[in-house]
């Protein structure tokens, strides 16, 4: 029997960006807030210091800062005719584990999604009609418009000290920023990062092609910065060890230094690490959460009663906990009914590897996680889809993330993978190869979903989460069409050779793609097609809120954390100002 602990007002499961934002905002109420985080406490000092943090083997290859698959994994299959098998080691995505969550080892590309991304159904119907939507696609609006979310996007940008250039400031389009972005009330808090030579080449080439290049909004600070909470950031020095690493200079916004110290200073907040929540316990009617059960680092279980439960355990953890706890009706792909696990989505990648002339010096090791030039001309509905035969779009970009030599070894297609010829090609191309990539949106489909695995269990005896997912023709078409765009840009840059990388045939759990898993507990205005309402509140268990990209009804081409952070602020605001005064389903 789990030891029953002293009740608290609010329990938050997970301490990444979403858990941290909820904890900070809700602690203003004076109520007692307890954050349960399965991993370890971590801080810049002593955990992320140079030179030891600059260890590609330890962090990029052995995933030291990430989820430990021996304890936390899922099973996977491409379709329901297969038997799902466990993901035995990390690959396709690299979720976080420990204080700060994946916010410690992310890249920091921090987007506001397009107004289109928030209401793709309405806008697709208006522009192309019903016939444009494939039969199996569950295209859905958020139920929150971009304009409603705008002040909260702004809050998150200020929290993170985003470096960028506005492209649409109160309706005025600004060249050099993203002219396709929704109207913003404020410019970014910091100017853009200094571009690399690769970025400069991409900018020139795309301009020549009539596209509109702009610098990616970056949570790697371009200058020293102090945020509205008086948290000081260092300046990014382009060391090129960003994605998969902690930042030794606090230049990359992360919850561990922007939020955790604020929480630690509050008498009504407690952070308990090594606390893995196994289940949310409901009352007999299944309408109210009473407590959560968690195991501490030694595996001893405790029952923690609370009045309000916030799930902030990432897309996969949130959906898993809801299914294990009976929060909301599980999705059934046969009938198409039920909501928890429905609309699981991902992203699709394609692009071009661009080999420049000899004696071009790109210095690939000079980089930062969010250092890239981007065009949005093929994103969302910024172009006419009628001819193209797909819905959605791509984030087309030229990255300068760093040239860490295990990970960055571009060679022309057809090069052997070892031997003298291989070595010659690696040396020959290290300094003169850039990428023009497409990161494409992925829509939701009836047969892509999450549920509980019937065969495999975790070390705590719980069924694993089971992922059933594959790419559909709509997305493959998008990835192929946009790969051609990438090739065109590569040619315009003046390449010696361009290798096209087309759409993948199938989704595979093995190679790293993105940690932009979405859906499973999507938001909306209809309880038949969403697990949570506009305020991330469970329709069925109204004292449970579910934060994170699990709420996205479908996935954009853009990285998720901008809207993830904005939604957390938006929902916390509703809890603070409305729910706590009168607990119950928010309308």
């Amino acid at each position: 029997m789990a030891t029953r602990l002293k009740p608290v007002d609010i329990v938050i499961v997970g301490l990444g960006w979403t858990g941290g934002i909820f904890a900070k905002e809700l602690s203003d109420s004076g109520l007692s807030v307890l954050v349960l985080e399965r991993g370890n406490p971590r801080d810049t000092f002593p955990d992320f210091l140079a030179p030891n943090i600059h260890d590609e083997i330890r962090y990029a290859q052995r995933h030291e800062l990430m989820q430990d698959a021996s304890r936390d994994t899922l099973s996977f299959r491409n379709n329901a005719s297969q038997t799902a098998l466990p993901m035995r080691q990390l690959g396709s995505f690299l979720p976080g584990d420990g204080v700060g969550g994946a916010g410690v080892h992310w890249n920091g590309q921090t987007w506001r999604w397009l107004p289109w991304d928030h209401e793709p159904l309405t806008r697709t119907l208006a522009r192309y009609g019903k016939k444009a939507i494939p039969a199996e696609m569950n295209l859905q609006d958020w139920g929150i418009s971009y304009d409603e979310l705008e002040p909260f996007y702004d809050k998150f940008e200020r929290l993170c000290g985003i470096s960028g250039k506005a492209g649409n400031l109160r309706g005025v389009k600004i060249k050099g920023g993203n002219i396709f972005e929704g109207t913003r009330q404020n410019d970014y808090p910091n100017p853009p990062l200094t571009q690399s030579y690769a970025g400069e080449l991409f900018e020139k080439a795309t301009e020549g092609l009539g596209y509109h290049a702009f610098p990616c909004p970056s949570a790697n600070a371009s200058q020293p910065y102090t945020n509205p909470d008086e948290v000081a950031f260092g300046q990014c020095n382009y060391c090129g060890f960003c994605e998969r690493f902690g930042c030794w200079s606090n230049a990359k916004a992360s919850p561990h230094f922007t939020l955790v110290p604020l929480l630690a200073a509050k008498p009504n907040v407690e952070i308990r690490t090594g606390a893995r929540v196994l289940k949310v316990n409901l009352d007999e009617a299944g309408k109210r959460a009473k407590s959560v059960t968690y195991a501490n680092a030694r595996g001893v279980t405790f029952e923690q009663p609370a009045e309000l439960v916030i799930l902030a355990a990432y897309t996969l953890g949130n959906t898993h906990l809801m299914l294990l706890s009976g929060i909301g009706r599980p999705y059934d792909p046969q009938s198409g009914e039920g909501v928890v696990g429905r609309n699981y989505t991902y992203q699709i990648n394609s692009g071009a590897t661009v080999f420049l002339k000899k004696d071009t010096w790109l210095n690939p090791f000079m980089g930062a996680g969010a250092l890239q030039m981007v065009i949005d001309d093929f994103n969302g509905d910024n172009f006419d889809h009628l001819r193209e035969g797909f819905i959605g779009g791509g984030n087309i970009y030229c990255p300068s993330y760093g040239g860490r030599p295990f990970g960055f070894r571009p060679v022309p297609a057809g090069t052997p993978r070892w031997g003298t010829k291989w070595k010659r090609e690696v040396v020959d191309h290290y300094h003169r190869t850039l990428f023009v990539n497409n990161q494409g949106s992925v829509m939701a489909y009836r047969h892509n979903y999450l549920d509980l695995d019937p065969n495999y269990r975790d070390p705590f005896g719980r069924p694993l989460l089971r992922m059933t997912f594959d790419f559909h023709p709509n997305e493959k078409r998008q990835a192929d069409v946009l790969a051609d765009v990438c090739v065109g840009i590569g040619r315009a840059i003046g390449a010696e050779r361009v290798d096209r990388v087309g759409a993948p045939e199938k989704y595979s759990i093995t190679p790293y793609q993105t940690t932009h898993n979405a859906g499973g507990a999507v938001l909306g205005t209809d309880p038949n097609t969403s697990a949570v309402n506009r305020y991330l509140q469970s329709w069925d268990v109204s004292n449970v809120f579910v934060a994170g990209a699990s709420a996205f009804p479908q996935n954009s081409s853009k990285n998720p954390t901008g809207p993830v952070g904005a939604l957390a602020f938006w929902a916390a605001d509703a809890i603070k100002n409305r729910y706590l005064k009168n607990p119950g389903l928010l309308t």
Binding site: T83, L85, T194, Y197, C239, G367, R404, G419, V426, S508
Partner: protein, 250 residues
């Protein structure tokens, strides 16, 4: 053993960190020498004075591999990344040591892998599905490799083959033409290739990339440097410093 046929012995000992004299005390392996002679009868030499059949591998103090396995690992690494006019060979920069340490440690023991059954083969998209840790996969994979070579090459182990035959064997494994007795040859090869590249390109702190020779070869400045002052001024200009490793800066 002819100097020409073998990896220069001095380099080889250095590569393994072996104390001089230890190897000399080892008994000669007549069998292996026979194999070398045989191979040289029919195989061209690669002419670079390295990489051919070894006798005994003086892997002085491996943490995980036994001496037979160590022979195989050295020969495998030397075949995947030979010393040549482009740059350093995998053996001289210490990749066998890197792999040995990796197998002895948490990675080799599968510490962060989910290894509960039931086990099934699955599809390629479902990824690694063996019940084996990486270290176990090496152990069985090397035994399989040597047995396969013995059958196909007159009783010789992999490390006893000529450089060109070794290349041929690995090409055949890579292209899926070889079936091992105990483990899928392709899965073993994939892990070996990954670890070889990690040892070649990773920080020397892990036992490979000795003297940062690989970073020097490609022109990677190493760790700890920042480019805030140079990212703009060095656009399309060659940037070169002596690479720094974690230990250089600690």
């Amino acid at each position: 053993m002819s100097r020409k046929a073998g990896l220069p012995r001095r380099d080889f000992l250095k590569a393994m960190g072996a104390a001089a004299g230890v190897a000399a005390a080892l008994p000669p392996r007549a069998e292996a020498d026979e194999a070398i002679k045989r191979d040289h009868g029919k195989q061209e030499s690669d002419g670079q004075g390295h990489g051919a059949a070894q006798r005994v591998t003086p892997f002085q103090s491996p943490l995980f591999f036994n001496s037979v396995e160590a022979d195989a690992v050295v020969a495998l690494v030397d075949t995947l990344i030979p010393k040549d006019d482009v740059g350093p060979g995998g053996v001289e920069v210490g990749i066998p040591t890197f792999i040995d340490r990796a197998m002895a440690g948490a990675f080799g023991r599968g510490a962060r892998m989910y290894l509960q059954g039931p086990f099934a083969e699955g599809t390629p998209e479902q990824g690694y599905q063996l019940s084996l840790t990486p270290a176990e996969l090496y152990r069985l994979g090397i035994a399989d490799l040597n047995n396969w070579c013995a059958k196909s090459y007159g009783g010789n182990h992999f490390h006893q083959l000529s450089p060109s035959n070794r290349r041929l064997v690995l090409e055949e494994i890579e292209s899926g033409k070889v079936e091992f007795a105990q483990v899928p040859a392709g899965v073993f090869f994939q892990l070996l290739l990954q670890n070889t590249m990690e040892g070649y390109f990773g920080d020397p702190i892990h036992g490979g990339n000795r003297d940062k020779a690989t970073w020097e070869m490609i022109g990677f400045p190493g760790v700890g440097d920042g480019y805030i002052e140079t990212i703009e001024t060095y656009r399309n200009k060659k940037y070169f410093t002596n690479p720094k490793s974690i230990q250089d800066l600690s």
